[in-house]
């Protein structure tokens, strides 16, 4: 999963984190927020930034404009702009919104990025057993969003 990391020390850390990773069904919400880190490993904002614009990862730009990444073409307009989200939401709330936005915004179009795949109807064969983002990618995205202050 984190094979892209080459430094041995970091691989060690990631492996340790996997062991204590919170499974999708075990995530606990309070008013739509998730207090506890999914991995116990601090998110990497640079990796999170990449996940936000990369189509095969978060592809958040499909629905959100984000001035901080103007170099990326095509920002969607289905959700509110991400500009200044860290002023509006705490880290715990942002984590809740990424894990399952429906817990914060009832009936929202926004996908749940860390939902148990068994809850999906007719999930595509190649996505079976997979969440959209891994637990660490969620932490990375949250760390990136936490930098979006106005």
């Amino acid at each position: 999963m984190r094979a892209r990391l080459t430094a041995i020390a970091i691989i060690g850390a990631a492996a340790a984190a996997n062991a204590s990773e919170i499974a999708p069904l075990a995530v606990s919400f309070t008013d739509g927020a998730v207090a506890e880190s999914l991995t116990g490993v601090a998110g990497d904002p640079a990796e999170g930034r990449k996940a936000v614009f990369t189509r095969s990862m978060g592809n958040c730009l499909a629905c959100h404009q984000n001035s901080e990444m103007e170099e990326q073409p095509f920002h969607g307009e289905i959700g509110p702009p991400l500009d200044g989200v860290a002023d509006r939401w705490t880290v715990e709330e942002l984590r809740g919104i990424i894990v399952n936005a429906k817990m914060m915004f009832e009936g929202t179009a926004m996908p749940a990025f860390y939902r148990d795949p068994s809850e999906a109807i007719r999930i595509g064969a190649q996505y079976e057993g997979k969440t959209i983002l891994t637990a660490q990618q969620v932490e990375d995205v949250v760390a990136y969003l936490a930098t979006l202050k106005e």
Binding site: F74, H75, P81, F105, A120, I121
Partner: protein, 281 residues
């Protein structure tokens, strides 16, 4: 407080979308060889949308232009092939379509009422299925594959005869059940991304989804020449792509699910004009 914030965010989404450069359909008029084809219609009673718009109104000027001139329309190659097949004898009967039906213009209006109930089959059949039924029972020839150039050429040719006529499906009798099933699928959130057809084409029509300007997902232009496909393609091929966009497992072209969805889409687009063969991005 959470709910209030959620509502605020939703409001913000609406405002931003409305202010966006691409929000909503454009004001262009579709005129093909001097004849205007209406691209909007009042919504039928009880329709979830305020007004119906053809997908043509959401496309760029360049894409729109391709559909305004039959010499520019790349789908016309398929229509030409359809004309060739119309007059060509085939199968054990040794008959051509023309031998039984006369001029293809005799079939004007047929595309506008698809899918249509078949008493013999006890179910609705799409244009593709009617064509294959005729090939098998009348021509006594091998049926065509759903997405074959033969089938696309013939559905484009027959569809063209109804261009400019309003979509007017008949949902009486046994059709109602199929329409209902189609509606159920339309509103079911599916796949890893948990999207329903309605998520993109009802709740967010007019907005940009990354690079895509979302239309109402109307079916009045099919079969459609899609620039992305570099070919003409069926409605069911498009539906397959949309289901995959939700990262869900698509049904097969010709499946009962897609026939049901096609029936429901026809009722969602009732009153819009047939544009076959349309051009999309």
């Amino acid at each position: 407080m959470r709910l209030a914030l959620g509502a605020l965010a939703a409001l913000a989404a609406v405002t931003i979308g409305a202010a966006g450069a691409h929000a909503g359909p454009d004001e262009d008029k579709l005129v093909v060889d001097g004849v205007e084809i209406a691209t909007e219609a009042p919504a039928p009673e009880g329709h979830p949308l305020d007004k119906l718009y053809s997908g043509w109104r959401f496309r760029t000027d360049e894409t729109q232009a391709l559909q305004m001139d039959d010499f520019e329309n790349p789908a016309m190659v398929a229509v030409e092939y359809g004309i060739e097949l119309w007059g060509k004898p085939a199968g054990a009967s040794g008959k051509s379509c023309a031998d039984c039906h006369g001029d293809v213009s005799e079939l004007a209006g047929l595309r506008a009422v698809m899918p249509k109930w078949s008493e013999a089959a006890g179910r609705p059949l799409t244009m593709e299925q009617w064509i294959n039924w005729s090939i098998e029972t009348h021509q006594e020839a091998e049926p065509w594959k759903w997405e074959s150039q033969e089938m696309l050429g013939m559905t484009a040719l027959i569809g063209l005869q109804s261009r400019g006529m309003p979509v007017a499906p008949d949902m009486s009798g046994g059709m109602a059940e199929w329409q209902e099933r189609g509606k159920e699928i339309y509103y079911t959130r599916m796949g890893q991304l948990d999207f329903a057809c309605a998520t993109c084409h009802e709740a967010n029509t007019g907005y940009m989804l990354r690079a895509d300007h979302l239309s109402q997902g109307q079916s009045n232009g099919f079969p459609t020449y899609r620039l992305k496909w570099q070919n003409i393609g069926s409605l069911h091929r498009r539906l397959e792509g949309c289901v995959k966009d939700a990262r869900a497992e698509p049904w097969k072209p010709g499946s009962d699910e897609f026939v049901a969805l096609e029936a429901y889409l026809a009722t969602r687009g009732a009153g819009l004009m047939i544009e076959t063969p349309s051009v999309r991005q």
